[in-house]
Every structure is written in C-alpha cells, then in structure tokens.
Point group: C2
Chain length 181, copies 2
C-alpha cells in the first residue's frame, strides 16, 4: 500500500475520532473531517464513499486487531477446558479493546455507538455460538445466545465509560453476573 495512502487514511481516522470526542456523529460534516485531517476534498472521497463508510472502516480497523487470532479454538468436549478457553478468549478481546479505549469511547459516546455495537455483536455471536449446545426449556436457544452477546457487549460499553477497572476485573464482573453456565 502506498505510503501516501496510509498516511491519508490514518490522518482521516485521527481527525474523525478527534471530532467524535467533541460532537456527536450526526453533527460532524465531511467538510470538518477534511479540514481537521488537512487533506483535499477530492482525496477524502477517493478513500471513503461516505461518512458512514468511514465509520464502518474505522470499526473494521479496530476489530481487525481485537478479533485477530481467536479463531482456532478447539471444539473439545471437555467442559472445564472449554470454559477456560472461553475465558481466555474473552480476556484477549478485552485486552485489545483497552488499546483503542479512547477511540472506542469516542465512538460509543453518540449514535455512532449503535453501529459499533452492531458490528461488535456480530463478531461476538460467532465467539459464543459454540457455548450453548444443551437445549433449555426455559427460553429459546436464540434468546439465550443473544443474551450472552449483549451482556458482554454492554459490559464492554460500561467499561469504556468507567475508567479504573482492569480487563481481569471486568471479566470477573461479567462471569459473576452472566448466565454462562
């Protein structure tokens, strides 16, 4: 990838998150992003079709780091091992989210948070999908899966709003309050 492209892309991302910290997504104009990033108008549109697409790209960029490796979790039948694996994977996710904390906090501070959360939950659904094989008579399987997903996603949102907790602590909070079984 051309050095100029990377630089421009990064400048836009930074300008965007910087603005996001000060005003809600909906009130930020493309022109402001362009000015803040200090690039030409046509350059912006050469990189991103629209403001929404920029947000999407930014989220993808974050998740690329967060969900990078956790793919190869063994599908073992040993329960205790499996739970240990899950805990490890979630811990890994929390650690990497912490790296982008200020950026994520900015995104979550307004409507753009909805977009972020939607992508985030899509990823999480894949992570949790294997956890619920035993049927429950109490509620639909889909409900229970989504329950885990939004519990974790909302826990992260809560974490981003409340400084001072480590990834380990938050992980404990989650397992204490969520019905992971």
């Amino acid at each position: 990838m051309d050095r100029r492209q990377k630089k421009t892309r990064q400048a836009v991302f930074e300008a965007f998150t910087g603005l996001l910290e000060r005003k809600p997504y909906g009130k930020i104009s493309v022109q402001e992003i362009i000015d803040a990033a200090d690039i030409g108008r046509s350059t912006f549109y050469a990189h991103f079709e629209t403001k929404d697409e920029l947000l999407r790209a930014l989220c993808a960029d974050i998740f690329r780091h967060v969900f990078s490796e956790g793919l190869q979790r063994e599908s073992t039948h040993d329960f205790s091992t499996r739970e240990k694996d899950l805990r490890a994977e979630l811990a890994h996710i929390l650690y990497h989210l912490d790296d982008s904390r200020s950026c994520i906090r900015a995104i979550l501070s307004c409507e753009s948070g909805e977009i972020f959360m939607r992508y985030f939950k899509e990823h999480l659904a894949r992570v949790f999908a294997g956890e619920l094989e035993r049927q429950s008579a109490q509620a639909p399987r889909d409900y229970l899966l989504q329950h885990l997903v939004w519990d974790f996603a909302e826990t992260v949102r809560w974490w981003m709003k409340h400084d001072g907790y480590s990834a380990e602590e938050v992980s404990r909070f989650f397992f204490a309050a969520a019905p992971v079984t």
Copy 2:
C-alpha cells in the same frame, strides 16, 4: 389542545414511523416527512424544532403510556411481595409496549433505536433502582444495576424483532436468564 394541532401532530408521527419502516433515520429528510404527512413546511417547524426533537417527542409519547402508573410501588421489606410487585410492573410495561409494537419496531430498526433505548433505559433504571440494596463483593453495585437494565431493555428489543411470543413468555425468558436474585 386545538383539534388541528392534535391532527397535525398525529399525521407527522404516522408519516415519520411509516418512513422509518422503509429507510434508516439518518436518511430521512424533514422534507420527506412533511410531504408524507401532507402539511405545510412552516407547520412542521411550528411543532418540532428539528428531526431529533420529533424522535424525542415520539419516544416520550410512547413512554407516557408505558410507564404511566407504575410509580406507586410500595417499598416493602417483604422480599416475596417485592418480587411479585416487580414481576407485575414489568409485565405491565411489556403489555403496553406490545400496543406500539409496529411503531417501536420501526424505531429500533436503525440508529434511531439508540435514542429510544437510551430513554427506555433511563426509565428502567428508576424501576430497578430499588432492587439491589444488598452489596455484592463480586461486582460494583452500579454495574449490577445497569446489568438488569440492559438485560430487560435488550430483551424487549429482541422481542420486537421476533413475533409470536406473548408478554408472559418473554417475561419468563427474562427471569430465567437474568440474575435478578
């Protein structure tokens, strides 16, 4: 309130939710709402300062019915009574949400859902506030309270997406999966 005002207001609400079913909040222009409601431009602005304010008013209108009476729950110290009261109050909320189902579903289908959920959670926080007096060493009190709030709010969002479940069933799902203790 003047009969004309009520009519106009209602027409705008209907036009708005109608549009919301077809396209995301952010892509709907005030002009479209005006055309769909078949009113004059200045009339719209006489009623609502902005599109956001219209959404806020619509949410308030819904919640006015949903959270109407449940205020006078006794603060008894009898646990079983208190839980019964809570169940009754949540059931009441679910019933009334069901009345506005199509409208709510439209709102929840896009970014506007974020706004709806925020107001909804504010109301719910008040409902659940009394439930958690006993300290827990496992997690901060605030976390546990918010946990209940988003569990119920997200349960409702899930319900709105999945037709065919009664308020009672959904209530049971919630109590089966949430750590209401």
